[in-house]
């Protein structure tokens, strides 16, 4: 096992290297750089731009250096925890992201718990009552959740919450509490606003999870050990919980790879519609305005989390599922 983990860790290094090169290429792909966008913006507002100042800025940020040198500075900075400098915010990337990270993680964690709390009972019910009206009805609702574009659902929920509960439009708290210290009524205001993004982001994930849990559980329920257990007189509830459910749980673990980055990226489009102060809109904005270090660090960070998540889920799967063997390898 230790050997396997070490091997996986070792293979992560070239993967991350290639990813970092790709990220750098991607953030360089759009024509021009941030300064050009910035200058164009100033000029469109009728302000003159001093070429000396532009050249100074360009040298200051290293934009005049060749590409590979810029990459080297950026990548080596990443290794020691320096993610570069955000042009737009005029702050180091660490500080810009830090503010928003907390709220993003809160929303994501609550959403994940919500998704699981809904998907689990429904998935089990649908599998144990296959082809019943309940199964069809719940699957259909799940499908609708899957098919509705999130941003539209967010808009409608926002409107309904405003009309029926008087919740202020957008944001994660009432405007009165922004930049205020944390107090109990601020916390309540956050709770009041939190359920909309949680439900909106949750619905699409729930549908997928219900379907997979149902499919996996159905496969297990047909196996012979279930028949054996039933023949021995085990209670149906206990039976399902004890054996097939556990077996069908593997995909939850396999999901960690995609779960980790989604905690940080926080459903970008929904966040834009709801104007949530999370990291998602910031990253999209950075990509659009070519705030390259901010965007690059975000992308790199998310990709890194995916790689780590996939590795974690592989290791966990190998530990939890005795059928997965690491040594030997199959002949076919």
């Amino acid at each position: 096992m230790a050997g396997y983990i070490l091997k996986r860790l070792f293979f992560m290094i070239p993967t991350l290297f290639v990813i970092s090169v790709l990220v750098f290429v991607i953030i360089q792909l759009p024509p021009g750089d941030y300064l050009e966008t910035y200058i164009a913006e100033l000029e469109s507002q009728g302000e003159s731009v001093d070429p000396d100042r532009v050249n100074f800025l360009r040298a200051e940020y290293g934009l005049d250096k060749p590409i590979y040198e810029q990459y080297f500075v950026w990548a080596s900075g990443m290794l020691v925890g320096d993610y570069g400098y955000s042009f737009e915010y005029g702050l180091p990337v660490n500080e810009v992201i830090g503010d928003r990270l907390f709220l993003t993680i809160i929303i994501s964690v609550v959403t994940i718990i919500f998704t699981w709390a809904i998907a689990f009972p429904i998935g089990i019910y649908s599998a144990t009552h296959q082809y019943s009206w309940g199964d069809y009805g719940l699957s259909f609702i799940g499908f609708i959740g899957l098919a509705t574009p999130n941003f539209l659902l967010a808009l409608v929920m926002l409107y309904l919450a405003n009309v029926y509960f008087g919740t202020s439009i957008g944001g994660l708290m009432d405007p009165a509490y922004i930049d205020q210290p944390w107090r109990i009524d601020k916390f309540l205001s956050v709770l009041e606003h939190l359920w909309i993004p949680v439900v909106v982001i949750g619905t699409s994930g729930t549908a997928g999870m219900i379907r997979r849990l149902r499919a996996n559980l159905l496969d297990e329920l047909q196996k012979q050990y279930v028949v054996t257990a039933r023949a021995k007189g085990l209670q149906e509830k206990k039976l399902v919980r004890k054996y097939p459910l556990r077996m069908s749980m593997n995909f939850f673990i396999a999901d960690i790879g995609s779960l980790l980055p989604s905690v940080i990226s926080g459903a970008e489009i929904t966040a834009i519609v709801l104007s949530l102060p999370t990291t998602g809109p910031m990253m999209l904005n950075a990509l659009q305005s070519q705030d390259m270090y901010l965007a690059g660090s975000f992308l790199m960070f998310l990709a890194m989390l995916t790689v780590i998540g996939v590795m974690l889920s592989d290791i966990l799967l190998a530990m939890l599922d005795p059928r997965i063997r690491l040594q030997g390898g199959a002949t076919k």
Partner: protein
């Protein structure tokens, strides 16, 4: 001595093993026929495919079926709500007609208010002359299935901020929204089969490199990658080129799942005896993959492809919503929904959200059809 019944017919020792004509048909059916037989039993999938065919036909004849052209403006009727089609007027049969609108600007909140004018009866005309268009780019015509009364108007789904008829726009938008999924899936299908096939057949170093490549591509968050790539499309490109660019971007990020499926299947199939036999007879890899291995799980691939079309349609919607996707004058459902971005629309002009209805229907239909195909393609069920 009691009498026994003795059959006169000659004794056939194989009668038990003989198949009824129905059984024989089933056992001798080709793989595709089996799949079709199974699919027919999946009612939801059959219903969905009918719905899809209808929607594709609607898109094909959108110019004919819509009362107006894509860009026809009615400057007197901006943000007009949907009109209801009536058949009876004050208990009297008139045939399908709509009431005209009385327009008034509410000076308090500056909202345009339209009230149906029950004196103004506008009978609908059928197979009538209206806006001119080029049918399939072949010939000029101006025949429409339905038109408003000669000096009236017809807004079945209301109008938008420029007074354009939403019903016509949704029909025209279907053309782009529906093809983007198909073209995209065709591209990613080719990529997936070629790359996955090479990885699975050759194995070893090639497989390893391709596997890492797929891993890397998959570890990027989808939306930012789309954004970054679509930001690289030159501004000077014509809208139709942008359309193909966006399709290509969607496909470029979609093939990885398919390639993985192809690879894992090929890895197990290439050890089969019939594959070894083909190799011994000197068949080239291309022939072995294309002729002997791929058909073995083609049905599976098609099923999984039809399941990934919805993702592409939603992806286009999301990109267009962010203003990074298609640009007007190319109109898709995503471009239409781009107008429904703010809360005012939901509160004042909810009919601008109507394009979401066909989006949901198409995505559900593709999902159900894909599910049915997948079940039908599985020979062990």
């Amino acid at each position: 001595m009691s009498m026994h019944y003795v059959s006169e017919a000659p004794f056939d020792a194989h009668s038990v093993e003989q198949l009824t004509p129905e059984q024989e048909k089933l056992y001798l059916a080709s793989q595709w026929r089996l799949m079709w037989l199974k699919l027919k039993q999946h009612r939801l999938a059959v219903g969905s495919s009918v719905v899809l065919i209808i929607i594709y036909l609607l898109a094909l004849f959108c110019e004919f079926l819509s009362p107006y052209n894509l860009h026809t403006r009615h400057t007197d009727y901006i943000y007009a709500p949907p009109q209801r089609v009536h058949v009876f007027h004050e208990g009297e049969f008139v045939g399908p007609f709509v009431y005209g609108y009385r327009y008034q600007l509410n000076m308090e909140n500056l909202k345009r208010e339209y009230t149906p004018d029950t004196q103004n009866i506008q009978k609908l005309r059928f197979f009538c002359r209206g806006d001119g268009y080029r049918f399939w780019g072949l010939f000029e015509t101006d025949v429409h299935f339905v038109c408003p009364a000669s000096d009236g108007y017809l807004f079945l789904f209301g109008t938008d901020r420029l007074g354009r008829d939403m019903y016509s726009r949704i029909l025209h938008g279907a053309k782009i929204s529906l093809t983007i999924g198909l073209v995209g899936i065709a591209l990613s299908f080719i990529l997936g089969i070629v790359i996955g096939g090479v990885a699975g057949y050759y194995g070893g170093v090639v497989d390893n490199v391709i596997q890492r490549l797929i891993e890397i591509l998959r570890s990027f968050p989808e939306l930012p990658l789309w954004m970054a790539l679509s930001a690289t499309l030159p501004v000077t490109w014509s809208p139709i080129l942008v359309f193909f660019g966006i399709t290509l971007i969607l496909a470029l990020l979609d093939w990885t799942g398919l390639a993985r499926a192809v690879r894992s299947k090929l890895l197990s199939l290439r050890e089969e005896d019939y594959c070894t036999a083909a190799q011994l007879m000197g068949a080239r890899p291309r022939r072995i993959i294309g002729r002997h291995l791929l058909p073995g799980f083609m049905s599976h691939l098609i099923a999984s492809a039809s399941l990934s079309i919805p993702g592409m349609i939603l992806g286009e919607t999301a990109l267009s919503f962010l203003g990074l996707g298609l640009r007007p004058p190319i109109t898709s459902w995503g471009v239409l929904l781009n107008e429904a971005q703010n809360i005012n629309v939901v509160a004042l002009y909810p009919w601008l959200m109507l394009p979401v209805v066909p989006v949901i229907i198409v995505i559900l239909a593709f999902n159900f059809l894909g599910d049915g195909l997948r079940d039908a393609a599985d020979p062990y069920k």
